[in-house]
């Protein structure tokens, strides 16, 4: 079972940032549970059926989650030890929980990014991705697998020792296979 974390302050944004991810899992016939980030308890995190966690993104105007990082302390609990994928705001959260820093970097629209190494079955190549964010994150505990060409903005990262992944782009737009692979494969 995949736990999908909704970080949207506005409930109407569920349809734009969470439901597209639920739809990918539905299509792949993968069981999931969606929960708002302020409502997560040990009950969800210690659920024996829990396999992996996805933290979704939110809108450009919504930065509330950055003021509420205490709700995400569980990301670094050793006893959790489940693969996590952070998307956009979700990537910012996991990076910040592990001591990363935010850098202003507003981007809206489709660009090509370069995957230097294989990342969640994306082979080294240029990929078109959809961006919608105010901030990039930098954290030396994470390895960078893809960055914006010539900009050195990490677009795809993985924790150096834990199965914790982050993408600054929105894979639910144009790169759905990345989410399917994260949910289906064992690693």
């Amino acid at each position: 079972m995949i736990l999908i974390i909704n970080i949207c302050k506005e409930k109407f944004h569920y349809l734009e940032f969470v439901k597209p991810i639920e739809d990918i899992l539905k299509k792949e016939k993968i069981e999931y549970q969606t929960i708002y980030y302020k409502k997560i308890t040990d009950k969800e995190l210690l659920n024996k059926k829990l396999n992996k966690i996805i933290i979704c993104g939110t809108s450009l105007k919504d930065n509330e989650y950055l003021e509420n990082l205490d709700y995400f302390k569980w990301v670094n609990f050793p006893k959790l030890n489940k693969p996590i994928l952070g998307i956009c705001g979700g990537m910012q959260i996991i990076s910040l929980i592990f001591g990363g820093i935010l850098a202003e970097n507003k981007k809206i629209g489709q660009i090509k990014i370069k995957f230097e190494k294989e990342f969640l079955n994306f082979k080294p190549s240029l990929k078109e991705v959809y961006l919608l964010h105010n901030y990039a994150v930098i954290n030396k505990d994470f390895e960078v697998f893809a960055d914006s060409q010539n900009l050195e903005i990490p677009q795809a990262i993985k924790h150096k020792t834990k199965p914790i992944y982050g993408v600054l782009f929105h894979p639910e737009v144009r790169n759905k296979e990345l989410i399917s692979y994260f949910c289906k494969e064992y690693f």
């Binding site: 409930k11 109407f12 734009e16 597209p20 450009l60």
Partner: protein, 223 residues
């Protein structure tokens, strides 16, 4: 939160408006762009002037912005209209009917960001068949007013989106990869009735014209 709806009179913007209301938001105004360019990249054009009748039956104020319709003018005029909605109706966000178009969505996101407004795309990435089925289930009476892709032809003008329509389009989709929602510009629609309308709109006149190869438009007049 007070919201402005980017409104073309077709199914996507009308259904998005209805969803916003269902989620408890206030529909403060509709914003329609009348493009003089029938090949507009951004805006729906067949029967666009009938949005006035739709706005009346929804009892929601309407802001109309005309544009010459070339790429840069369209975006500048859209921004002008949204800015007017912000000043006049104190809207805090915009609702669009974008489903797959990154071109359309990212341009509206940029305008909202510049004007410090929330941007809602409630149909974003929505499954095409699920969406059309929801339209029918939620009592949206929608007809086709523009046809722009082979093998669709003039006989599809005026067709209502119902289960039979979905079945026929799915068969065509298997062979020709037509987008079921028409978002690739394959067809345009007009909403005659939905839960936001006080009464159903009745067509009293229609004018069909061919606008090129595999391209027909139906301008309707509403009572």
């Amino acid at each position: 939160m007070k919201l402005g709806i980017l409104f073309s009179g077709g199914k996507d913007s009308t259904y998005s408006a209805w969803l916003a209301k269902e989620y408890g938001y206030e529909l403060s105004c509709l914003i329609s762009i009348f493009s003089e360019n029938p090949e507009s990249y951004m805006f729906h054009t067949p029967s666009i002037k009938q949005v006035k009748k739709q706005a009346q039956t929804m009892e929601i104020p309407l802001i109309i912005q005309k544009t010459k319709g070339n790429k840069e003018d369209e975006l500048r005029d859209l921004e002008k209209a949204i800015e007017k909605a912000k000043q006049k109706y104190k809207i805090q966000g915009i609702v669009t009917g974008a489903i797959q178009s990154v071109y359309q969505a990212s341009r509206i996101q940029k305008i909202c960001d510049k004007l410090n407004l929330e941007c809602f795309n409630p149909l974003w990435q929505k499954n095409e068949e699920e969406y059309l089925t929801e339209l029918i289930k939620n009592k949206f009476k929608t007809i086709l007013t523009g046809i722009f892709a082979y093998p669709l032809n003039e006989s599809w003008l005026g067709k209502e989106i119902n289960q039979q329509f979905i079945n026929e389009l799915k068969k065509i989709n298997q062979k020709y990869k037509i987008n079921l929602t028409g978002e690739g510009g394959e067809f345009e629609t007009f909403v005659l009735n939905c839960p936001l309308f006080k009464k159903e709109l009745k067509i009293f006149n229609k004018k069909i014209s061919s606008t090129g190869e595999n391209s027909w438009r139906m301008e309707v007049e509403i009572e």
